[in-house]
């Protein structure tokens, strides 16, 4: 049982609570589920009574109620099951909205640097994909876990009460059988599934690693005559999984077999206590009812082990969600809601002894940076990979907290709200995110009151006029995650957004990282000249963080971001 428990105050439980609809929405599904389950018990009970009573050849009038009951239960069972499924799905979907918003609220202060993945695990994109599918999986908590368990337990209790009224000792034997069934569902099922997961999951991991290794390198393996050797490794991993699965196969179906045996034994027990009672207060039709009813009840109870299995899955999804979105922010992130919402009077940026650390790291990514940036400056910050370039970019837009001093217009950034800082300092990310929408929507959210003509003018400024025309204008979609857009075009779209948002300071994080070398220098030149717009009346400050060389004539100042140990 310990395997199933989730402490009420644990982060996983907090996530699970988000997924469970409130009682008033959840209740109709449970009600109709209960009606359906009781109808199927009632159908068998009334049929059994009807047939046995009919054999006593009473006037047909006495059977009228039972005949109506049999037909009514048959209809009610199917109809209420249909209504149950609809209302429980509807409730789960309604809850999905609250669930997603709840998770989103946890994500907002964390994104992008506070999200936790497994060390060496999937990249950020995969992490988010898994997070979102885990959130959707949580819908199964009300649908496949709570609802069936509540309905099953209520049906069992009500049936035991019903049978007890007919013959108390039969009620007791039925209750014992049902308790054993629930114990089997919870303990046996959970122990078997847990053992299988523990023994097989790591082997599956090995197999999938080796498969990926083999498939990704097939060209190399063919070219180096190494196919047989590596195929042997894949087959060995496959054998490992197969052998472990075969060894655990005995656990499969153990619970359903136990439930089936218990159903029979409950009927047998009812006969054993019922037959001696026959004629002493128990009539023939009632004996048939108590002997047959366990069969119908156990058919309902069969959903309990499935619910337990579903709970294991839901719980591990909830645990991953809780893990990825810690309720307590890492110390390296700015405290949400701190600072005042005030726009600094100037866009001068000063850094003094600035340093920052990535969440979960012990050493600072960079440290001791001194830099003063005046309006209209074009600064290039260079550094090898690992010298903390992206960290710096994220500090400048307050995704990360810092040590030392970072002032905007003379005000310490920490005293301003993060939104106020981002009103001044904008960032074009290394891989700009493009929403799965059209070009217009991908620009409008930066400044939602501009006209199409203004959007086209900005696109022309960043060198995307031709590209937009080729795609058929502003209503053209940029595709899933901007898949149909090259790295350079994505950077230009990001620049267009930054221009629309009219940030006085724009930071570029490795704008040429995903661009082929031939086009990189052209892109760099365009970015620097368009962004700073030296001929315009209000010249903008541009900070480019890059490891590729930038031509001197475009730059007013160069700074080298070194390893923290260097002076």
């Amino acid at each position: 049982m310990s395997d199933l428990r989730t402490r009420a105050d644990s982060p996983t439980a907090a996530v699970l609570r988000l997924a469970q609809p409130p009682v008033r929405r959840f209740a109709p599904g449970v009600f109709f589920g209960l009606v359906s389950a009781l109808s199927s018990v009632g159908l068998l009970a009334t049929s059994a009574w009807l047939i046995t009573r009919a054999a006593e050849q009473p006037p047909i009038l006495f059977l009228g109620a039972a005949i109506v009951g049999v037909r009514a239960f048959a209809l009610l069972r199917a109809a209420s099951r249909y209504v149950e499924r609809l209302s429980s799905h509807d409730a789960a979907f309604r809850q999905l909205s609250a669930l997603r918003i709840g998770i989103y609220r946890r994500l907002v202060p964390l994104a992008p640097d506070g999200l936790r993945g497994d060390a060496g695990g999937p990249g950020r994109g995969d992490l988010l994909t898994r997070l979102v599918s885990d959130v959707d999986e949580l819908q199964n908590l009300p649908l496949r876990v709570v609802q069936p368990l509540v309905v099953t337990v209520l049906t069992a209790v009500l049936s035991v009460i019903g049978v007890s009224i007919v013959l108390p000792s039969a009620g007791v034997t039925l209750a014992v059988a049902l308790v054993l069934a629930f114990v089997a569902a919870a303990v046996v099922q959970s122990a078997i599934a847990g053992r299988a997961e523990r023994s097989i999951a790591p082997l599956r991991g090995v197999l999938s690693d080796r498969l990926l290794d083999y498939v990704s390198n097939l060209d190399v393996l063919v070219a180096y005559d190494a196919v047989p050797e590596r195929m042997t490794r894949v087959e060995a991993a496959d054998t490992g999984v197969r052998v472990a699965t075969l060894a655990r196969a005995g656990g499969a179906g153990a619970t359903s077999a136990i439930l089936s045996a218990l159903a029979t034994l409950a009927s047998v027990a009812a006969l054993l206590v019922g037959i001696p009672a026959l004629g002493h207060g128990l009539q023939g039709p009632a004996l048939t009812v108590i002997a047959l009813v366990p069969l119908a009840i156990f058919e309902v109870v069969a959903s309990a082990p499935l619910a337990v299995g579903a709970f294991r899955q839901v719980r591990s999804s909830a645990a991953r969600v809780a893990d990825a979105t810690p309720a307590e922010l890492p110390a390296e992130l700015p405290e949400p809601g701190s600072g005042v919402d005030r726009r600094p009077t100037s866009s001068m940026v000063e850094m003094l002894g600035l340093g920052a650390r990535w969440p979960g790291e012990t050493a600072p990514a960079f440290d001791g940076l001194d830099l003063r940036v005046n309006r209209g400056d074009r600064i290039v910050i260079e550094g090898a990979s690992g010298s903390g370039k992206t960290t710096l970019a994220h500090v400048l837009v307050r995704f990360l907290d810092y040590s030392g001093s970072y002032r905007i217009g003379g005000v310490e950034a920490r005293e301003l709200s993060a939104d106020a800082v981002r009103g001044i300092v904008g960032l074009c990310e290394q891989s700009p995110y493009l929403f799965d929408e059209d070009i217009r929507q991908n620009l409008l959210f930066a400044h939602d009151t501009v006209t199409d003509d203004e959007l086209l003018a900005v696109l022309a400024r960043v060198g995307l006029a031709e590209w937009t025309r080729e795609r058929g204008g502003l209503s053209a979609r940029v595709g899933d995650d901007g898949a149909l857009v090259s790295g350079g075009q994505a950077q230009r779209l990001a620049l267009a957004r930054a221009l629309l948002a009219d940030f006085p300071v724009i930071v570029f994080d490795e704008p040429t990282a995903n661009v082929d070398p031939v086009r990189a220098s052209e892109l760099m030149r365009d970015i620097l000249s368009v962004a700073s717009d030296p001929h315009g009346e209000d010249s903008r400050t541009v900070i480019v963080i890059s490891h590729t060389p930038v031509p001197d004539e475009l730059v007013t100042q160069r700074v080298r971001l070194g390893a923290p140990a260097l002076p």
């Binding site: 979907f93 699965t245 047959l292 981002r422």
Partner: protein, 544 residues
């Protein structure tokens, strides 16, 4: 979906064994169900007829025994399903890996590799549902349903007729409702797919939204799009749940009709109670397997759809003719050979990546193939190794066959990940008896003098930088060239992630190879590499 794909039986022999077991266990299970119903109804009828518990004890004991046997049959069936699924998956997976190998890197290049791995791993696991929920029920339907119906007919013809009339309604309704659901789903598919990916889009773009101060507005948007998602999904569900409704209704109504008709005939004495009870207990059993088939149809269909991908790959692999084996391997000593491309074209889906390229790459020289991305440089190397189909001829000396060219070439691909093992095993890849001194020499040539060949490479990495990994790949080609005396050594962008000093060192290694008489071909657009070339071939972008 076909309930039982003949390809499953063809490609996975274990599936046949499983179905054989299923038939035997299905018979045991049906027999014990029949015995259970007989014994239970007789015990009740006997008790009502006034017999004592002592007289009825043997029957009741047998009833318990039969119940245990039935539970045992259920368990055995589930165990057989789990074992069958594991064995079949293993057989299919091995065939799949062999099939992928036969189809080769060229075929893989047109696929998403992660998808292919998913097909061989998690997607095959979806067959578990097919094996545990669907196939046993299909077998049981084939065995139990006719047996039960015949038994009912033998006992009570009228009830038999009722069951036989109602039973075919199940597949009829399933199919009709299934078709209607499909139509609605098809109509709504794009709407649903879009709505379900929107939340991911908001979450994925959260950092961007924060930059523009738009993160606070999104909760309303999430609420709206989730509400739309609910409304659209419920439209589909209202229809698709009808199939479950039909299954339940037909099942329970037929039991009700049997009960009422039996009851009425009991009143006028035309039927015995033992028969009536027996038929009542048996009637649901006639419907149960088919109801299970219907209820698990979708889970099974998912599994079969996954298997479908596997079968498609296997069918494609069967259609490929194995390439001619190599007629010559590396020679005992290096023989200088030139590499000739004559009128070589490579096409991907009709688009020419390389158009009638001709060149002679000479031994003892460092030849650089330059050109912007998209000009077909890597395609030429792929054609040399036979990874993509090409027109024209590619020869190394007088060797024309793909397998021969391959055995005469040492190739270092671009951005190739390292294999699990050690640096040393990566460098000496394909050599059954690695020569450690030669590994050292290849690493030195590839400007990796400082690297310890014993470092382990795991899935999560090796602790090597990108540039070092790149040089290990180059060292691998050098090792092969030196160990097997492959006359042609080809490098694809070997210095893309190197700084200038490392690049210069690597170029010295390439120069040594050329001086030793190897035909060295380097694909690169780096100025330092181009400057070091003895011969330079520039490819332009191919215009269609």
């Amino acid at each position: 979906m076909r309930p039982l794909d003949p390809r499953l039986l063809r490609y996975a022999a274990a599936a046949r064994t499983f179905i054989g077991m299923g038939v035997v266990l299905g018979i045991v299970r049906t027999a014990s169900t029949l015995a259970f119903c007989v014994l239970l109804s007789q015990a009740i009828v006997g008790a009502i007829g006034g017999r004592s518990l002592g007289e009825l004890a043997p029957g009741i004991l047998a009833l318990a025994g039969v119940g245990i046997v039935r539970a045992g049959a259920i368990w055995a069936m589930d165990v057989a399903s789990a074992r069958g699924a594991a064995t079949v998956k293993s057989q299919l997976r091995r065939r799949l890996v062999a099939g992928i190998t036969r189809l080769g890197p060229g075929w893989l290049g047109t696929r998403n590799r992660v998808d292919v791995v998913t097909t061989a791993g998690p997607a095959l696991d979806a067959l578990d549902g097919y094996f545990s929920l669907f196939l046993p029920q299909i077998v049981l339907t084939a065995i139990a349903t006719p047996l039960v119906i015949v038994t009912i007919f033998l006992q009570d013809v009228l009830s038999g007729i009722l069951v036989v009339v109602a039973l075919p309604l199940i597949p009829v309704f399933m199919i009709l409702i299934g078709l209607a659901t499909q139509a609605v789903q098809r109509r709504q598919w794009s709407v649903l797919a879009q709505l379900s990916s929107r939340f991911l889009d908001v979450v994925g773009g959260l950092a961007t939204l924060k930059i523009f101060g738009r993160q606070h507005r999104q909760t309303a948007r999430i609420a709206t799009l989730t509400e739309d998602y609910r409304v659209e999904t419920m439209k589909v569900l209202r229809l698709s749940f009808l199939s479950g409704f039909a299954l339940e209704l037909i099942g329970s109504l037929s039991v009700a009709l049997v009960a009422v008709s039996v009851g009425l005939r009991l009143v006028d004495g035309s039927l015995a109670l033992s028969v009536g009870l027996f038929v009542l207990l048996l009637a649901p059993e006639a419907f149960l397997p088919l109801r299970q088939v219907g209820a698990n149809y979708h889970a099974a269909a998912d599994g079969v759809a996954a298997a479908e991908d596997v079968f498609d790959i296997l069918d494609a692999a069967m259609a490929v003719t194995a390439e001619a084996p190599a007629t010559r391997g590396g020679t005992g000593s290096l023989v200088e050979r030139e590499l000739r491309f004559s009128e070589v074209s490579v096409r991907y889906e009709g688009r020419a990546a390389v158009d009638r390229f001709s060149a002679v790459i000479r031994p003892g020289r460092l030849t650089v193939l330059a050109g912007p991305s998209g000009s077909g440089k890597s395609s030429l190397l792929a054609a040399l190794l036979g990874f993509v189909p090409s027109d024209g001829t590619i020869e190394i000396g007088d060797a024309v066959l793909v397998a021969d060219r391959r055995s005469l070439t040492a190739w270092a691909g671009q951005g190739a990940p390292l294999l699990e093992g050690t640096i040393s095993s990566n460098v000496s890849l394909g050599d059954a008896a690695p020569d450690l001194a030669l590994v050292r020499r290849a690493l030195d040539l590839a400007a990796l003098a400082e690297v310890d060949p014993g470092i382990a490479v795991t899935v999560t990495g090796s602790g090597l930088s990108g540039g070092q990994g790149e040089r290990v790949v180059a060292a691998r080609a050098m090792y092969r060239a030196l160990a097997r005396h492959c006359p042609v050594v080809a490098f694809d962008e070997p210095s893309a992630a190197l700084d200038r000093r490392a690049e210069a060192e690597l170029l010295r290694g390439l120069r040594q190879l050329a001086d030793a008489g190897y035909t060295v071909l380097v694909v690169s657009h780096r100025p330092a590499v181009i400057a070091a070339a003895d011969d330079l071939i520039e490819l332009g972008v191919v215009h269609v």
